[in-house]
Symmetry: C2
């Protein structure tokens, strides 16, 4: 039974101006890292802190559907890298001919350069047949898992650790390497390592691949459309 | 053309021990808020800051597929609340009989109590037919949008603003109220307002609906399974 003293809201933690700035700065200075990883292993206590931050994410019905698979084995990472390479060649061919050379010049993963990979999965069966909040949107468990990824990413940045999200692979190539059962989905495959240098803007913007939209262009009032 | 001086990583922002603690604290003290909203309107500069934090989220191929629809109109919110009520009645009936009374006692939304609702959408067409990083997982744009939600949630918490994610509705009931075109998906419907009191633990744990798993139970080495 719950302790009734826990069953009422308490005075909320207030953040000072300096603390708010730190939170805004970690959000602004977070980058998707592909090439800046240093080889040093992640310090174990530090790894526990960033995993705990991920585990503190919101989850639908408090189902906490995520798992974090820590991958360091070099042979396994070489196999995952090969799956990326195969998919990336397919991906390059999907772009119009005039963009293929620019695409090929981009480094899009740090699977072997980063000392740690983390596969973040979602157990679609966790919480049972009916999960509070998932009754009308079955994907809420996947979304909860993404919230955990973003918490991990920000905590890592605060610790001087870069994270890169690799999404270019066929799931069918990766699943057997991680022995995933059918009810477990891959949500994110992350490359993780210390960094001391980072791009000041999103790398794809700095390299001229894509440009950033203004905030005003994505905020709407009351309904969609102009 | 990109400025070549932007095309190299720079010294990364380092966070002090106090700053790191603020970041961990905002992650730990974030709550899914349903009932603690104060009626005060969100200060406009503050709203811009939390939306900018959302807009700084990682996005696949820098596609920034999100929009933020700000909903304040009381008639529209009453219609959305009605859609919630309909779905919530259906949801209650999905649980085993012995859980229905406990389910019905939970308050699961603050649509009308919070002064602001934000519908966070994902434009599935943004970035064109082929988006870097989305070639092998078409859902990466949805996941990018969830990252924006989590950034918004944390920035809001730092500002003393609570956020509650409502997922119990039929999308078909909400889409016409917001005039969403077919290529735009609803990712999150958020209730947003100042708070001065919050639960110290997740409310569903405090109320005995669900319990939290230990971090050690969700961390795996190299592959799935024991």
């Amino acid at each position: 039974m719950p302790d009734p003293s826990n069953c009422a809201p308490q005075s909320a933690r207030v953040f000072s101006a300096e603390e708010k700035q730190a939170i805004y700065d970690v959000i602004a200075h977070r980058r998707d890292v592909r090439n800046e990883f240093l080889p040093d292993p992640i310090e174990p206590d530090c790894l526990q802190r960033i995993l705990a931050a991920a585990h503190a994410a919101p989850s639908v019905g408090l189902s906490q559907p995520w798992n974090f698979i820590l991958i360091r084995d070099t042979a396994r990472r070489a196999q995952i890298k090969a799956a990326f390479e195969k998919a990336n060649t397919e991906a390059q061919a999907m772009f119009p001919p005039q963009k293929r050379s620019a695409y090929g010049a981009l480094k899009l993963e740090g699977i072997e350069k980063a000392p740690l990979n983390i596969c973040v999965t979602c157990d679609r069966s966790r919480g049972g047949d009916v999960v509070l909040g998932r009754t009308h949107n079955q994907d809420m468990d996947l979304y909860s898992t993404v919230c955990a990824v973003q918490n991990l990413w920000l905590a890592a940045r605060a610790e001087g650790i870069g994270v890169g999200w690799v999404s270019i692979f066929d799931e069918a190539d990766i699943r057997p390497l991680l022995r995933l059962p059918d009810h477990v989905a891959i949500v994110a495959y992350l490359c993780v390592g210390y960094v001391d240098r980072l791009f000041e803007r999103p790398e794809l913007a700095a390299r001229g691949w894509a440009s950033e939209d203004a905030l005003a262009d994505v905020v709407l009032e009351e309904v969609w459309g102009p």
